[in-house]
Each structure stands twice: as structure tokens, then as C-alpha cells.
Amino acid sequence: MNSLVKRRGFYYALAVAIPTFYLYLQSSNVTTSVFSIAVTFAMPLALAAMVGIMCERTGIVNIGIEGTLLLTSFVAFYAAIATKSILIGFCIAMATGVAMSLLLALMSVTWKMDQIIAGTILNILATGLTSFFYIQGNMLPNMFKQKPIPGLSNIPFFGDVLFKHGVLMYLGFVVILTLYFALFHTSWGLRSRAVGEHPSAADTAGVSVSKLRYINVAVAGAIGGLCGSYLVLELVGSWNRGFTAGKGFTALALMIFGRWNPLGALAAAMFFGLSQAGANQLMIDGTVNIPPQFVGILPYVMVIIVLAISAGKVRPPAAEGQPYEKGQG
């Protein structure tokens, strides 16, 4: 408890909880709806940010998240159609994410290429491949449906907000929480962070830098596959060119905003999701008549203002972006 009071996140949480509670008292239905939609806005961004965190915590910059989402969602869609199984589609999407990641790892770990270039290559490659091979007129056999969790979904407010979604959403939460605990409480996490901060320190302690980087980047790809699958198989149900609409780039910003911490990034994504759902709500209620453009830029402006005020000097993992040369240092 004592440590809770010292945490900054605790105060952020309070700052959200108190007005929320007030709004909930005013209009429980709308407040609940806004929050539960905020979660659907937030989850793809949060998962995409997890892809970034997984990579960057071990020292690999990944600006190819957008490409990963684009290609995995594409593959999820067509694989599900071809095999008539969304489950198989999901698995193949994860495998595709892993494959893309392995390409990234090959370029940045083995070939020691500039990592921003490596990520850019993923992005263009995914854009090119998906629009080149896109065939329209296909339909998913079915989708991951909403599956309220028995019991939990009856909790007022939280039940609706958190426990009335589809399995991929739940899986997303599991992944984020697992990642958080794994990163800060397991030896894998300790080693990963060490590799991201000071690879030769990890190497001299008997941790294989390249192996860990390959593994983590691959897992990141799988998370990217989950994110792409969520978008296409649970949230939207169809695929088109440019499907991911820049989420991979927004996620980069949220990853930094969340200070490379899974819960931080989740919170940042929620903040973003809430602003979007809130902006929609303004239009639904028609209470204000400001141009939609200004409503639309609200979340982005808020992020900048919050950061400017909190003067977030963020420190990325120190070894990020630098290829590791064994035996040097």
C-alpha cells in the first residue's frame, strides 16, 4: 500500500477514476459505453505498442510495426478464408508475424543493419505485398464473437467495460499483463532488459545476446500477429488495402509515452482510446457543434500537452539501435 502511494501511476489512476465515477453517476449507460469502446480503440494500439516494447527492451528498434500489423491482418484474413477456420487464420497470422520478425532480426542482429532502415523495409514490403496480392470479394467464415466472461461480466461498470469482449481481446489483456510481470519479475525479463541496456554485460554474464534478441523479436512478431488477427478477425471482419491506417506509428508514440513499460503503454493507449470514444460521444450527443476536425485532433493534442507539462524526459533502453559485436566493450 505504502509503495502504491508513492507510485505516479496511482495518481494518474485516481485522476481518471474520480471524474469517471462522477460521470457514471450522471449517466451510467453512456459512461460504460464510452469506456468499453475506448477499450476496443485501445487494444490494437496497446498490442502494437507491446510489439515495440518487446523489441526495444532487448535493444532492437522496430519501426516496422505498421507493416507487421498490415501483413498479419492480411494473412489472418485470407488464411481464415482459405482454411475456413478463423483459428487457423489466427495461428497463421502469428506465424507470419514471427516470420516478419525473423527478417527484422536477421537484418538487425545478424547483418547488423541500421535498424530504422530494417523497419522501413518491413513497412514498404508489407504495403507492397498486401496491395499487390489483394483479391476482393472474399468473406470470413465467421468471426471471434463477443463472449462475456461468466460472473465477471456482471460486475457493474467493469463487467461491461472489460469482460464483454471476444477471446482475442482477452488474450490481449493476458499478453499485456504477462509481459509486464515477465519483464520485471522473471529471469527472462531481467536478461532481456540487460541485453537492451548493456548487451556486453549480459553476454559476459553468460546470456546469449543474439539468441535472446532473436527470441524476443520473434515473440514480438507473434504479438503483432495477435494484434493483426484481433483487428481483422474480431473487430472488423473484413480486410482492405491500408487496413491498419497508421496504428503502428501511433503505437510507437504510445510506447514511448508509456516509457517502454507494458502497463504504461496500455494506460497511454487507454488514454488515446478514451479521447477517441469521448470525441465520438460528443458527436453522438450533438451537444457541441465544433468542426469534427477539431474533435478529431483532440487526442493528439492531449498527448502533446500532457507530455509537455509532465516534461517527460524519457530514457530509451540504452543499447537500442546498436548492433552488438561479441567480444567488444
Binding site: 514498404i124 485532433i297 507530455l307
Partner: protein
């Protein structure tokens, strides 16, 4: 002694074969791979490439179109390059370019009483200024508030997009016109063509040379480079980290804005949001393809400009979807930077061009 100095200085300009051959072989290798994709679809790669390159480089109109496309690409590539030199990753070129484009369009139609030469300068200046303004916001937040430029520039892209849309659809909208766009700029402010060559291209090339010279031969360039490479040592040597960051971002934004202005004054003659999409992100690719070197950007931009200019012809003649160009681009970038080809050449360094988010 002076012989030694001259030899060393001469060495700087000498390029090894690798640095010329690697990109060329890369382009060929990428085309080869893309051929396989076309064959897979039952299309004729020879016809496709023939039509692509004939359209892009085979006629003077083609070359003009190519250079027209290359112009904003050079400028957005330069904007990214300047940022990278100072250790900044400017993902916000898109937004800066848009705001420059809108500002110059406004200056181009709303200010009507100026003599042509002054009018052109003012319109270009507006483009530079408003691009710089957007860049400077990110620069200020980075330098004085420690907010990461990757966050701010991504956010600013969306913000600028919203504002520009609003302006172009309300206050600056062409009267009696349903579309979101400004009126046309007046005749006299349009950038002329030199024969078939767009004068904007010369502006871009001039700027590239100027940046090359400034980065390589002036104290200002030394400041940018120093901060980008080791900001602590730069500070120790009397270079203000904050000022340099701020101005690097400001100028980077300004160059991007100028890109928007040149596009508006030379090609589109008005502002219409859809006209400038994608130029910002292409800038990143081009800066990397040009190895973060102002002059290296020019051939990269011409190549990409040419491929984009010829894409429709390729579809017309050979039925190949224009997206093939994206695939080609990805593979060229891969082959140029991966040690797949370069390892056959000595001296081709695998040096890191960007500093990640670290600086």
C-alpha cells in the same frame, strides 16, 4: 606535409567502386525478384520494365514528369536527412509539408498585388515558415521540455492534417465550390518550367548542394553533426545542444514546408489535401537510400520519382499493378543496405545511419 594534407583531403572525395556498384546491382536484383512475381501472375516482366522505364526516362516529357515527382521527394528527403544529422528522427515531414503547401497556396491566391518575383519569394517563404513552425514546435518540445520528437512529430502529423483540412474546407475554401480545396494561385506566382524541366527541381537540387556544403564546410554544419554524434561532447565544446536541436528541427520542418510550397506553386497550383499524401514517408525511405547524405538523396529521389511516374504506363501496357513499385522499393532498400551485395566490395561500411530513439 602539404602533399599529405592534399592527399587526405582528396581521399574524402574519392569513392570506391562499391559505393557506385552496390546501388546499381541492388536495383537489378530487386527487378529480378519482382520479375518472378510478375511471371507468377502470368505477366510479362520485360514489357513491364520496358514500359516503366520508357515512360520515366525515355522521353523528355517522361523525364520532366519524373523530375516533377522527384522534386518534393528530394526536399522531404533533405528534411529527414537534416534531422538525422542532428540526431533527430523527424517522422513529421508529412505534416510540415502539408502546412507549407497550404500556406503557400494561400499566399499564392490571396496576395494579389505583389510583383511576380516578390510574390513567388513570399509564397515560398510562407511555405518555409509554416513548415518550420510545425517543426519548431517539435524542436521546442524536444529541446526545452524533453518530449521525444518521435512522439510529437507523429502527433503533429495528425494535428496538422486536421487543421489543414479545416482551413481548406472553411476559411480558405474556394467559393462556390463543394470540394475541400483552396482557389487556384494566380498565374504570375506559378513556378515556371525551363523547357520541360520544372524549376522546382532546381530549387531542390540547389538546396541539396547548399545543405551538403553547409554540413560539410561550415561551422553550423559542424554544430549539427556534432550534436547528432555526441551531444555531450558537443556541449562540452561549446555547442548549445538545445539551440541546435531546436534549429535543426525548425529547418528540417522548413525544408519540408518548402517541399510543399514548391509542389503547390509548381505542380498543383492550389491546395487540396489529397494532393500531397505519402510524400513525407517517402522522404524517410529516400534519406536512408541516400545514406543520409544530401547529394545521395538526389539519385534516390529520381529513381523513386521515375518509378512512380511510370507506374501507370506499366499498368497500361503490361497490366502490372502499380503497387509493384512499392515492392521494388522495399527490395532495393534491402539490397542496398543489407550486406548481401556490399560484402563483395571492400570498404562498404555497414555504419549505422540513425541513432534510434536514443539521442
Amino acid at each position: 606535409m602539404s602533399a599529405l594534407i592534399n592527399e587526405v583531403k582528396g581521399k574524402k572525395q574519392k569513392y570506391d567502386v562499391g559505393s557506385w556498384l552496390v546501388p546499381i546491382i541492388s536495383v537489378l536484383a530487386a527487378m529480378l525478384v519482382a520479375s518472378l512475381l510478375m511471371l507468377l501472375q502470368g505477366l510479362d516482366p520485360v514489357l513491364a520494365y520496358n514500359s516503366l522505364f520508357t515512360a520515366a526516362f525515355g522521353s523528355s516529357e517522361g523525364i520532366a514528369a519524373t523530375l516533377g515527382k522527384a522534386t518534393p521527394l528530394v526536399l522531404s528527403g533533405l528534411a529527414v536527412t537534416l534531422g538525422l544529422r542532428a540526431g533527430l528522427f523527424n517522422i513529421g515531414v508529412q505534416g510540415q509539408l502539408l502546412s507549407g503547401a497550404l500556406a503557400s497556396a494561400w499566399a499564392g491566391y490571396a496576395l494579389t498585388n505583389l510583383p511576380p518575383f516578390i510574390h513567388v519569394s513570399v509564397a515560398l517563404g510562407f511555405g518555409f515558415f509554416f513548415g518550420a513552425l510545425v517543426g519548431a514546435i517539435a524542436g521546442y518540445l524536444k529541446a526545452f521540455r524533453g518530449v521525444h520528437e518521435v512522439i510529437t512529430t507523429i502527433m503533429l502529423n495528425s494535428i496538422v492534417m486536421g487543421i489543414v483540412d479545416y482551413l481548406a474546407s472553411h476559411p480558405f475554401k474556394e467559393p462556390d465550390q463543394a470540394l475541400t480545396r483552396t482557389p487556384q494561385i494566380i498565374e504570375s506566382v506559378r513556378l515556371p518550367m525551363f523547357g520541360l524541366l520544372p524549376s522546382g527541381f532546381f530549387v531542390a537540387v540547389f538546396l541539396a548542394c547548399a545543405m551538403w556544403w553547409i554540413l560539410g564546410y561550415t561551422t553550423t554544419g559542424f554544430r549539427f553533426n556534432s550534436v547528432g554524434r555526441n551531444r555531450f561532447a558537443a556541449w562540452y565544446a561549446g555547442i548549445s545542444y538545445k539551440r541546435t536541436i531546436f534549429f535543426a528541427m525548425l529547418f528540417s520542418g522548413g525544408i519540408a514546408g518548402l517541399g510543399g510550397a514548391v509542389e503547390t506553386l509548381g505542380i498543383t497550383y492550389r491546395f487540396e489535401p489529397a494532393f500531397n499524401l505519402g510524400l513525407g514517408f517517402d522522404g524517410i525511405t529516400i534519406a536512408l537510400l541516400g545514406r543520409v547524405h544530401p547529394i545521395g538523396i538526389i539519385p534516390g529521389a529520381i529513381l523513386i520519382g521515375g518509378m512512380r511516374a511510370g507506374a501507370a504506363n506499366m499498368q497500361f501496357d503490361a497490366g502490372v499493378a502499380p503497387e509493384l513499385v512499392d515492392l521494388l522499393l522495399a527490395m532495393i532498400l534491402l539490397f542496398v543496405t543489407a550486406p548481401l551485395i556490399s560484402r563483395f566490395f571492400k570498404n562498404s561500411s555497414n555504419r549505422s545511419l540513425t541513432g534510434g530513439w536514443g539521442n
